[in-house]
């Protein structure tokens, strides 16, 4: 037996002296396929997983605590650090929750831009998924191709807001900027490029690839009942045959006006989920194309008119005394939303991203709870991995598409 002390701490993976001949190994927290800081303690019988214990918290930054100590506008850039693959979806989920609390609505142009950014982020995030998932399973070239297109998407984000990873491209009550010149043409070109690549590169490389299918088919099977029970949302839920997409069922922004389908797979396995990611990207480009004419018909107002909560436009602040005074109070003290609580779910690329905000009428949120989809998908691993083989563990972690900024918060 090991005698742990300060110099030789207890190592789980040296535990060979058990009677049942199982081996405990640590998968992570620095394993490249652990998608961040996941430490997965696996008990193995030969190559078969007997018990899995996901240990999280290696990326904990206390974001919920920070929310209690920051004004509502101050906190917004912090939400970038939740799901850093698709930052705008976090910014948006938070901004929408605060807007619901305030009872305001963004103007139509802001809504069009936000919907565009959300879908663009969905494409970026899904491309990242395809890339890393393929890399985890062993297909290196897909990674390179998918990252190439993702780079174009990030260039679009950079053209819009100046940032590539931590966008903060949404504000409470609207968006800070209008689209730059030529952006819509670039967006249309990006859509065409992605559509082409989905069919001719990723699809051609993976869809009917024999090795890919052998590695993914019937791996990580989740029944619909289990998926609901474990709190799976997004593609994890739709991959199990439950057709539920918040964009359709509890619509927000311009989604009710847009024409798009919700792909569902009843295969319940990793391969079905992979196909859903591919199809969702296609639906996203379809949405983006529809948004271009919608945007062109909107009025140029970008921020909601709610002087009690939201600063006036720069022009008003610079020319009108009262607008300047209000802006000063809003910056120095922060907005004071009504007393009450909201829970607002949105469909982020990973699943249901919801913000629960409890306000006591102060400029600081009394409590903010971020309902992160990846957190619950990580919880599912302890059941999903049992009985599978070590080689499939990586595939299953990949298919859950967890991001640790969101899991640990």
């Amino acid at each position: 037996m090991q005698v742990p002390n300060k110099l030789t701490p207890f190592f789980e993976n040296l535990n060979f002296e058990r009677d049942d001949n199982t081996m405990v190994i640590n998968f992570g927290p620095q394993h490249p396929s652990a998608h961040g800081q996941l430490r997965l303690v696996l008990e193995l019988d030969g190559e078969q997983v007997v018990k899995a214990y996901p240990d999280i918290g290696y990326l904990h930054r206390g974001i919920e605590k920070m929310a209690e100590n920051m004004t509502y506008n101050e906190f917004l850039p912090t939400t970038d650090r939740l799901d850093y693959i698709a930052s705008t979806s976090n910014n948006y989920a938070y901004a929408l929750a605060v807007e619901k609390l305030l009872g305001i609505e963004a103007p139509r142009r802001a809504q069009a831009i936000r919907t565009m950014l959300l879908e663009l982020n969905r494409v970026i995030s899904h491309l990242f998924f395809i890339a890393t998932h393929a890399l985890d399973v062993g297909a290196m070239s897909v990674f390179l191709y998918a990252f190439r297109e993702r780079e174009f998407g990030m260039d679009l984000m950079e053209d819009y807001c100046g940032a590539r990873l931590t966008h903060s491209a949404v504000r409470i009550g609207g968006v800070p900027l209008d689209l730059p010149e030529g952006w819509l043409e670039n967006l249309a070109a990006f859509c065409d490029k992605v559509d082409y690549e989905i069919e001719h590169t990723y699809g051609a490389l993976l869809n009917e690839n024999r090795i890919w299918k052998m590695r993914l088919e019937d791996v990580g099977v989740i029944s619909a009942e289990d998926a609901l029970n474990w709190g799976c949302t997004g593609i994890m839920l739709r991959g199990s045959g439950v057709k539920y997409d918040i964009r359709k069922e509890e619509p927000y922004e311009l989604y009710p006006e847009l024409d798009f389908d919700i792909p569902v797979s009843d295969r319940c396995d990793s391969y079905g989920r992979f196909r859903l990611y591919m199809e969702e990207m296609r639906q996203s480009t379809r949405i983006l194309r529809q948004l271009i004419p919608i945007y062109k018909e909107t009025q140029p107002q970008l921020m909601a008119h709610a002087p009690k909560y939201i600063s006036a436009t720069k022009e008003d602040i610079m020319t009108q005394n009262y607008a300047l005074m209000q802006h000063f109070v809003l910056v120095a003290q922060g907005m004071r939303p009504p007393r009450g609580e909201v829970y607002v779910p949105t469909e982020s690329p990973k699943g249901e991203l919801g913000f629960y905000i409890k306000s006591e009428g102060d400029p600081y949120a009394y409590r903010l709870k971020c309902r992160a989809p990846s957190f619950f998908h990580t919880g599912l691993l302890q059941e999903l991995l049992v009985g599978t083989y070590l080689a499939d563990v990586v595939t299953i972690i990949g298919t859950t598409n967890i991001v640790f900024g969101e899991v640990d918060r």
Binding site: E68, N229, Y244, G334, R409
Partner: protein
């Protein structure tokens, strides 16, 4: 006199509030007869203390001891097959109790219900893991962050903070930058308590400038040799030597002077 700081809530507070500021409320409405929510209320009978509809979601206030029963009825009779979220709000400073909430989703009707209860300090809540596995991690997180015990949880252990962490970070009494134990956590764990004096508490402010630190900072005008111990009494401003211009070419300078 030192400024009084309330100890029961050390979170940031507004430094100024207008005397006439009236806090509005988020709109609430009664449950309308004949809707889906009215049927849910009917199924729950007398288990509900009060109910309202807020922003399209029903909020049910219940007794903490009924939580399992209420959520079981919601799941089995009303079709709320997913528990999206479960956590708590700290009201210890004001009312000496926690507010717990469960956010449930009905997939078929696309309706959401929030079950809310007030739990007195030191009491435990019944686990709903037999109904919803998603509560497994959520309840562990609630225990980790607030120290609320959950009865019959299969594996109630800290989830985000380390196992040997002291205190529960989301309590209002817990400061943003961590408490005393937090600042010594790494030192105690890696080196032992006896090394506290040598290493010093952890600096959680990356922009902090320590005037006594002569290894990483130097002060212009008060430079001392690297690593010297700081002594306020011995602090002497350094007199820099002024560069003297020696005039070797007297002829040329004369010409300059003449020109002036």
């Amino acid at each position: 006199m030192r400024k009084y700081v309330p100890k029961d809530n050390v979170q940031k507070k507004a430094y100024y509030t207008d005397r006439y500021h009236v806090v509005p409320k988020v709109p609430q409405s009664e449950v309308v007869e004949g809707t889906h929510f009215a049927k849910v209320l009917e199924a729950l009978e007398n288990l509900v203390l009060s109910s309202s509809v807020q922003l399209g979601q029903m909020v049910l206030h219940i007794n903490p001891k009924d939580n399992f029963e209420v959520i079981k009825i919601l799941k089995e009779q009303c079709g709320y097959t997913q528990c999206s979220e479960q956590s708590a709000v700290d009201y210890l400073a004001k009312e000496n109790e926690f507010e717990l909430f469960w956010q449930l989703l009905n997939i078929n009707e696309a309706k959401r219900v929030r079950v809310v209860c007030r739990l007195a300090k030191g009491e435990a809540i019944e686990s709903i893991v037999p109904l919803f596995n998603s509560a497994n991690f959520a309840e562990r997180e609630m225990f980790d962050m607030f120290g609320i015990k959950v009865n019959n949880h299969p594996f109630l252990k800290r989830i985000i903070m380390p196992d040997d962490w002291e205190g529960h970070p989301l309590l209002k009494t817990y400061p943003l930058f961590g408490d005393e134990a937090a600042s010594w956590y790494e030192v105690d764990k890696i080196f032992g308590k006896e090394y506290r004096d040598i290493i010093g508490p952890e600096n959680r402010d990356p922009a902090k400038i320590d005037m006594k630190d002569t290894k990483r900072f130097s002060r212009i005008g008060y430079e001392v040799p690297f690593g010297t111990e700081y002594n306020a009494d011995k602090e002497v401003p350094i007199e820099y030597s002024e560069t003297l211009l020696v005039n070797y070419n007297k002829k040329a300078s004369k010409q300059l002077d003449e020109r002036k």
